[in-house]
Symmetry: C2
DNA sequence: GACGGTATGGGCAACGTTATTCATCTCATC
DNA sequence: GATGAGATGAATAACGTTGCCCATACCGTC
């Protein structure tokens, strides 16, 4: 329609075209107070005719960017996809756009750079998934930018928390294995070199709960933890460590599905069968886990609900709420063929 | 250190502190021409002391944002993680930051919104992974913003292309299955409702190549294509359709690993075994495919190299290159236990 | 010592938007 | 008809940065 000249259409063009002031156009665009219906219609027509879109950077210099920043350790973890779907669903109606940045997992320096990148881009709010930095850093961020932290157990007065009850989840798995008759149950956890903040990390909760439940059942002597990482490689390596013990465990509880997949590979490679020789259970109930060929017993936490909630909390905070909210989902156990009673060996 | 007052540190603060002009500071920050070593040191000291970080939005209003936008259909596909890793590695040294936006797969309207979101945020370049929109739309975008398209086979004079040679890849799979002795080989593809642009889509190339190779081997009568989607659900449904045929195929070539996983589940559910009753092969060689429990024969395309190359091409384009480049990786076949000669039934 | 070239630093005007302040107009009330 | 309140629209001044242009300092050469 319009002659597509090189220069972009600005609010001034719209104002001139509609024969009103730029202020009036701005008000219409922002749905601000003090515009008559006639004005609104006239301006809107000019906007449509010229194909005007507000200049994002110019807006950012004055205030809102209508952008939510999402900080993910990495996008390989399929559980994050659920979270993002939930978030997107919640915020899209309100005109916000989510942008993602990878923080790179366990390197605090890289994580900080990624966080700064979002702050620099003046996002209106940040959803920080499974941060590994110190709580103080989170709080400093949260003082300037509305923040929701997903998957950590610290309590804060300045940011909101969304998490699953990892204590319940881990307990479900260990109780399930014990009920099946297992006594030598190993655990694969993620080891972070982050002095002082371990207690808040979900991997710590899962590992401690494993130890607690084992102890409560008089199985303290059988506690065996391989501290590697919540990845396929970590699970593979962890399982090898556990299987090398004598006597070897009859069940392995991996703290995450990815690690469980690696454990499955290690068990298989050792010439053992699942669940005949070794039962394996995971955590997160990734879609892959449900596949017939894997059939991994796992803990389901509703990622979509967590993402949706995180989005809602962020919008509320952007809207002015200052009190802190803590939202916890209760996980459930999904039993599949990878766990069974131990053989009588 | 510095009194952390509410206002952010601006270039003016730095200039005042170093007792130079804002212009000088700007030049130092940008590594621009015309700064003496002494000036550089003095200004840098002031920058460090005050903890100055350039205001992104203000920069954006003048020009560069040092941001690369990445448009992904969705982050669930693990292959995209490889691409992103490669991209990040390439661009991080040059001070660029990648931000990701989900385009939402097969909905052109959502995809357009996602693209606009990046354009609005004035990214310096866009890596568009597997777009489903019309070529004209890509070209219009590319005329304003340096663009690299990954995973489509159109040729364009205004954007660069990074792709794997899907014809070679698909041929490898089908030839492999035929060499094993299979004749009734089914294919699962993705059906898009995008009139006129199908020929450029990778799923079309893979499907057409399947048909071509089958025909070349005199197996045209055994061609059987299930047009669902490149997802787990799609693979499951597609495999069910194929297995319902009489006689049923002895091998299934799924156009993507995700679909292959779904196919494995469907085969299993039908009471059949892999590869005893049905061989299954995929495409992408996702990490999961290598797991001992899955052991899926698949086509490996080096995602990290593709991402790295895309990053390099983008930087070159941002730097002023206007000629179009086309980079194609040659895929290889990784054979695993999911494919074997057909039984004599 | 006058001159020209080069290297370096500074002043200023945008970029497009919006919050604030101000001017006008309408209408009801006394 | 004077007054005041409320509604509406416009003018203006930032926000922080950088591109352009000019001023100055320094150097070597004739």
């Amino acid at each position: 329609m319009v002659a597509r000249d090189r220069r972009r259409v600005t609010i001034t063009d719209v104002a001139r075209h509609a024969q009103v002031s730029t202020t009036a156009v701005s008000k219409v665009v922002r749905n601000a107070y003090g515009v008559s219906e006639a004005m609104r219609v006239k301006v809107q027509a000019a906007i449509d005719e010229l194909g005007y879109r507000p200049h994002h950077a110019a807006r950012a210099m004055r205030g809102r960017t209508f952008t939510i920043g999402v900080l993910l350790p990495h996008i390989r973890n399929p559980f994050f996809a659920d979270i993002l779907d939930g978030l997107t669903e919640e915020i899209s109606a309100s005109g916000y756009q989510a942008i993602m940045v990878q923080s790179g997992g366990q390197d605090p320096a890289a994580e900080r750079r990624a966080g700064d990148a979002l702050v620099d881009r003046q996002v209106d709010g940040i959803l920080w998934v499974a941060p590994c930095c110190a709580k103080a850093q989170l709080e400093q961020l949260a003082r300037d930018t509305p923040t929701v932290v997903l998957g950590r157990h610290d309590r804060s007065a300045v940011y909101d928390c969304v998490l699953d009850d990892d204590e319940v989840g881990a307990e479900l798995v260990v109780e399930h294995l014990i009920a099946l008759g297992h006594r030598r149950i190993g655990h694969i956890t993620q080891k972070d070199d982050l002095p002082g903040r371990a207690a808040a990390l979900l991997q710590t909760i899962r590992a401690r709960t494993y130890e607690r439940v084992m102890t409560e059942h008089g199985l303290a002597a059988h506690i065996a933890v391989a501290a590697t990482s919540y990845s396929e490689e970590g699970g593979y390596e962890g399982a090898r460590q556990l299987l090398a013990r004598d006597p070897r465990p009859t069940a392995i509880f991996a703290g995450a599905d990815g690690a469980a997949f690696g454990a499955l590979a290690a068990v298989h490679e050792a010439g053992l069968t699942v669940p005949g020789d070794v039962s394996v259970a995971g955590y997160d109930n990734a879609r892959m886990s449900g596949l017939a060929h894997i059939a991994l017993t796992s803990v389901d936490q509703d990622g979509a609900v967590m993402g949706k909630t995180a989005g809602r909390l962020l919008l509320e905070r952007i809207d002015g709420r200052t009190s802190a909210v803590r939202f916890s989902v209760t996980p459930t156990l999904v039993t599949r063929r990878s766990t069974a009673p131990p053989s009588r060996s």
